[in-house]
Each structure stands twice: as C-alpha cells, then as structure tokens.
Amino acid sequence: MDVAIIGIGLHRFGRSPDLSGMQQGASAVRNALADAGLSWKDMQFAYGGSQDAGNADALVNELGLTGLQFTNIWNGCATGGSSLHAAYSAIKSGEYDVGVVVGFDKHPRGAFNPKPADWGIDEWYGETGMMLTTQFFALKTQRYMHEHGITEESLIRVSEKAFKNGSLTPTAWRQQALSYDEIANSAMISDPLRKYMFCSPAEGGAALIICNADKAHLYSSKPLFLKTAAVRTRHYGSFEVFAPSQAMTVADASTVTASKAAFEQAGIGPEDIDVMQLQDTDSGTEIIHMAENGFCEHGEQEKLLRDGATGINGSMPINTDGGCLANGEPVGASGLRQVYEICVQLRGEGGARQVPNNPKVGYTHVYGAPGLSGVNIISK
C-alpha cells in the first residue's frame, strides 16, 4: 500500500511572542487541513511531538475532542522524522486511511541545555561544560576538515547559500542575505564554526496530512507520494553527540545507515534525487551530511560548493528554503518543515526559490541527539 501526502501546513518559524508553542502547532494543523480541503473531524489518527512546548496530544484542546488516536513522539531533533515514520507505518498497515503528523516548539533564546540524566549520562559531564550540541558539531567538523581537506571557504559558502535562499522564502525567519565577508568576519562561536554558521533554537509549527494513496484522489488533485520513511540509530563507533568517549575505529554514522535503507526501500539512488533537505544545524554539518547521505564523496564538497552545485539552480539543490540556518530550529517541527519544503518544490509552488526543470523526486534528512537520523523520499 502506498502513502500519499495530501496536505501541508506551516506556522511560520521564528518568534511568535503572542502564541504558545501548542498554538503554533494548531495553526500548522489548520493550515494543512485547509490545504487538503479536510477538517479536523476527518482525521483518524495523529502523531506529534515537541521538546519544550508540551505534550502534542493536548492539541485536541485547540482543535477539537474528536476521540482520534493521538500518539506523542519524542526523538530529539529527529522527532519530526520519527512522527512521519509512525504515520507512514499506520497507513501501510492498512489500519487507517487518513491522519495528521504535527510538530511544534517554542524554545528560549540561546543554546540548548540538555540534562545529562535524560541521555543516560552522569552529571559531571554537563557540570564541566561538555554537553553542548554546538561543541559536538564543531568537534566533528574540525576532524572532518582535517581528514578530507575541507577549508573555511566551504563553511562560509554553505551559510551564504542558506541566507540567500532564506531571502527568497516568505516563510523563513531570516530573510536577509549575508555576504561572504559578513559571514567570514562574524564572531567565532566554537572553532571552526562562527555565529552565522549556526542555526538558532526558535519557534514554529509544521503539519502534514497523510493518506492511503489509493484514496488520495478523493481528497486532492495534487497528491505527492511518501516513497519511504526510515529512521536509524547509531552504531558502536559512530562519532555522535553527547559521547564522553569514542571508540578507536570510527563506524558509519546513523545518517549513512538511514540513507542506505531509504534508498533501498525506494528502489532508487542518490542520482535520482532532484531536490533535497539535509540537516544543517550548522554549515559544517551540512557539508558532512552531503557525503553521509550518498550525494557526493567525502572531500568532494569543496569543489561542489565553489561551483554552486547546491544552490537553487545547481545540480543538487540543498535546503532551498534556507534550511535550519535561515529558519531556526523548533526541534519538534524542524523535520516536518523539511518535508513541507520538498512538497512545495515538487508541486512547483516555490516562487522565487523554485528549483527549475520540474523536480520530481525529493529527499529529506534529519539528525538528532544522541545519534539518530530520519530520511524520507517523496515523489510526484
């Protein structure tokens, strides 16, 4: 049984001081329902998640107490990917025909401050200042640059592209393009990553209406198809966040296994993807994820970025809406924002940021603590 996406909705990422995170989630669901031409009472099931803005199933207080099955999902930054996977499985099983996936969040300003005990780590690790996601991404990027000959120029080009794409995206939080020099001269936060190379915790909501593809024509004249949803956790030896030690032999990251599984399930390869969203918590990580997802060889990114391959008009457009860098990261919503943008692109509704030549197949990848990745492949 195939799975279709028949409605997409966003509550704009950034700051919504007058709305709770939950209200932003409800707003995204209403927008997705309107896009599908359906109402909340048509929803047979829901999966949703949020890190800091409450239990997703409390959304029924906003949207209506219809008695539907509503399951909360929490999987770090990969919450959206895991929610979508759960909905995908619910449709595939034949149990349900139509439902909603929703993510939302509202984070305070500044870097995340996770509690060690939540991640199975003793308190000393956080007390001594080593439990920061920003640090991990810097440590991984530093090593990657050393091993694969990536220079600071590439880090700057990723940010330059992100903010340029953000400037073309009406729903983006950061809508101002930044010059190469502005990025290169911004404050160093965690060597080698500078201020404009990191995304910020933010607010927002995203929702998708998912249905049995056999019935999609009943609801939508422009359904898209979720070819696969794969979520994988880390292996022994993979270099991941929140790790007081690492094994001597570095194993493939969870992204590599999730990506391979997704391509295998979809029966296609990286060369078949027309537009992609790769987790860009920072510019170094987008570079690493290009190779971990199979879109290039390790080290090849330097030339690809110099040639503009990852821009909207390039051979492998990445993060066409500006990604996490330009949209910020409301953790619960972020992975679904990626899917939203791919759907916009495949529908040809991208406006100034539309990828040319009628893209037909899109790819999303989200990475979360403490080492898990979710990959989705979506097609016309």
Binding site: D122, G129, Q142, S245
Partner: protein, 143 residues
C-alpha cells in the same frame, strides 16, 4: 589545604601521585569504554573489568567553548569571570578517545595530533568548602 573530592567516583585514580583515567574493557571483545560501565556497548557482554587508560594521549579533534554554558554547567564562574576553554577528544593508549576540557583556549595553541597529558585540577569549590576535582588535558611540556 582544602579537602579535594573527585567530581565523580571512578573517573580517575585519586588520590594519586600519578593519576590515570579509568575505563572498562570488555572481557569478550576487548573494546574499551569511558567512563567505566558494567556492560559492553559493542558486543553486549556483561563482563567488563576496570582498566587504567594512561595519562598521556594525542589530540584527535578540538574546539573552543567561547560562551558560558547554561546549567547544568556548574563552575565557580560568573558571566563576568568566565574564561573560554578548550574541549577535545584525546586518543589514549588504553584504546579509546576521551572527551575532555583542554587547558589551551586559543586556536593557535591547539593542533590535531599534538601530544597531551592528563592533569587533575580543582574545578569548583562546593558548599562545604571542598575542592571538586576534575580531569583536563594540556599539551605535553618539553623536557
């Protein structure tokens, strides 16, 4: 001399004239973990033994923490007195890479592959006046 208390039992030998980091090695697959754990996350064996990991290693990767982390960070510093600190993974002869604070806090003083040595240092003073001790690496000093 204030009483010196390790920040967590079992991370390093203490008190000791020549402290060592402590980890666990799997009896079945020989993989090493830090901190020590009773089971092996490589092969799932429940048989591990505590081992000394050494007091010298080489720097595998590094960064510099330039802003003061929020809680659970718990030092004696204030926003005014906070000093940036290095963080890195140090490859140990005991067969594992350890994440650690580093003494140098300027990029020009850190380089992948440089030899590093273990220090046990006072990190903060607790409410009883005890010095809370933690581990840190610094570049090996030339003889």
């Amino acid at each position: 001399m204030p009483n010196q208390v390790p920040i967590h039992e079992g991370l390093f030998t203490w008190p000791s004239a020549k402290p060592q980091l402590l980890g666990s090695r799997c009896v079945d697959c020989a993989e090493t973990a830090f901190p020590a754990q009773p089971d092996c996350r490589n092969c799932g064996s429940r048989e591990t033994k505590i081992v000394e990991l050494g007091d010298r290693g080489t720097l595998w990767t590094w960064t510099i923490q330039t802003f003061m982390p929020k809680a659970p960070y718990n030092s004696d510093e204030t926003a005014e007195t906070f000093q940036p600190y290095g963080v890195g993974y140090v490859e140990m002869p005991g067969g594992v890479r350890i994440e650690s604070r580093l003494l140098p806090n300027k990029p020009e003083d850190l380089q992948i592959g440089m030899p590093m040595q273990l220090d046990i240092i006072p990190f903060r003073t607790d409410e009883n006046g005890d010095q809370i001790m933690t581990f840190r690496f610094s570049p090996v000093k030339e003889a």
